[in-house]
Symmetry: C2
Subunit: 215 residues, 2 copies
């Protein structure tokens, strides 16, 4: 399989963790979101993925897009280790947790949105950071409250990583990069620490990406 | 089941369509996102859903959140009519299409974000409309290109509505409400028209919501 990604894209980071956990071999095709005004916007990539976003995964059956859809597909095709629980209600909770990040936090703080705020709405650096932190706070408050409803577990939902953890770790990574104070979120931090003990997460980190130095 | 929703919330609109298509009886509990500075932020609802967002669905097994997770749960529990295709690749495409709306368009244009832009970043009405239209254009361009790769079908993916259509119709509804020019999107418009011929979609429309007049 070939993964079109960008080392710092947190949606790509999620998919790299999934591929690593499942031990699926993949080639990386780096789409640099900063160079050349964004390689994802150039025709070379736009012809591959008209949504002009990373990641996308070239499988034997064609191109797959959207990180959560890709991960669900991988989980169906390579069931071990499972990234979604067998129990239907628990599965709904895992998906909701993941979507709370993928639909409520990340979309507001990604590169193209920050660019629009700065270049089209002329906001200051301070306003940009406030915006970034605001949506993190809104989102993490809800997620911390959610985890706190149950006894602490090793991962978000049980003893093995699920789609929820695959979304949480890249989001916390971004938060720390933007110097967001994580001290109000002991449960989220605890899960993050556990995840980062695993090779699959370590290998997927932006700084361990083979093109990380290609800035 | 009890659905906590808001008549104009497009994430709620998606779930109402799913419930209608499957013929599942539900009670509505209206959470007014405008009245009282937003009833979703008041403790009455925040104690139910700490993420303070609508929709949420009270099932026999507890509260479910996030519209796409709720719809996948309903599809698993009430398999007919199916909202996701049997074929794994097609299922991945349907999920990706839905997420392209739920993760890339809608999060940028919902009420809380527009409020932040107006009240905290002091943008003008004109800038707000430009922002709104910009993300619609970015998103719809990709989706129109995607549908145009195949022969026209009655719905986004085949002869019956899927999760993709459940996300598309509310998004187009919002676009029209904000006077966005849809003329560049014949394939999306065609699907929208087909969907709106169905009772399940009609019944779920904001203006047909029992609390629509409760402005």
């Amino acid at each position: 399989m070939k993964l079109y990604d960008y080392f710092r894209s947190s949606a790509s980071f999620r998919v790299r963790i999934a591929l690593n956990l499942k031990g699926i071999a993949y080639d990386l095709h780096h789409v640099h979101l900063v160079k050349e005004g964004g390689q994802q916007l150039q025709s070379l990539y736009a012809n591959i993925n008209p949504q002009k976003l990373v990641p996308s995964l070239e499988s034997d059956d064609g191109l797959l897009t959207q990180s959560l859809a890709i991960i669900e597909f991988l989980d169906e095709q390579y069931p071990e280790p499972a990234l979604l629980p067998q129990d239907a209600i628990l599965r709904a909770h895992v998906r909701a947790f993941a979507q709370h990040i993928a639909c409520e936090i990340h979309p507001l703080n990604n590169l193209r949105v920050l660019r629009y705020l700065v270049h089209s709405l002329n906001i200051t650096e301070e306003q940009k950071i406030s915006w970034y932190h605001h949506w993190l706070r809104e989102g993490f408050n809800g997620l911390e409250a959610l985890l706190s409803q149950n006894q602490p577990q090793r991962f978000c939902f049980g003893d093995s990583p699920t789609l929820a953890d695959l979304c949480l770790v890249p989001q916390i990574y971004n938060a720390l990069r933007f110097e967001f104070d994580m001290s109000a979120y002991p449960r989220l931090n605890q899960v993050n620490e556990q995840c980062l003990k695993l090779d699959a997460f370590q290998k997927a980190l932006p700084e361990n990406h083979p093109r990380a130095l290609d800035k």
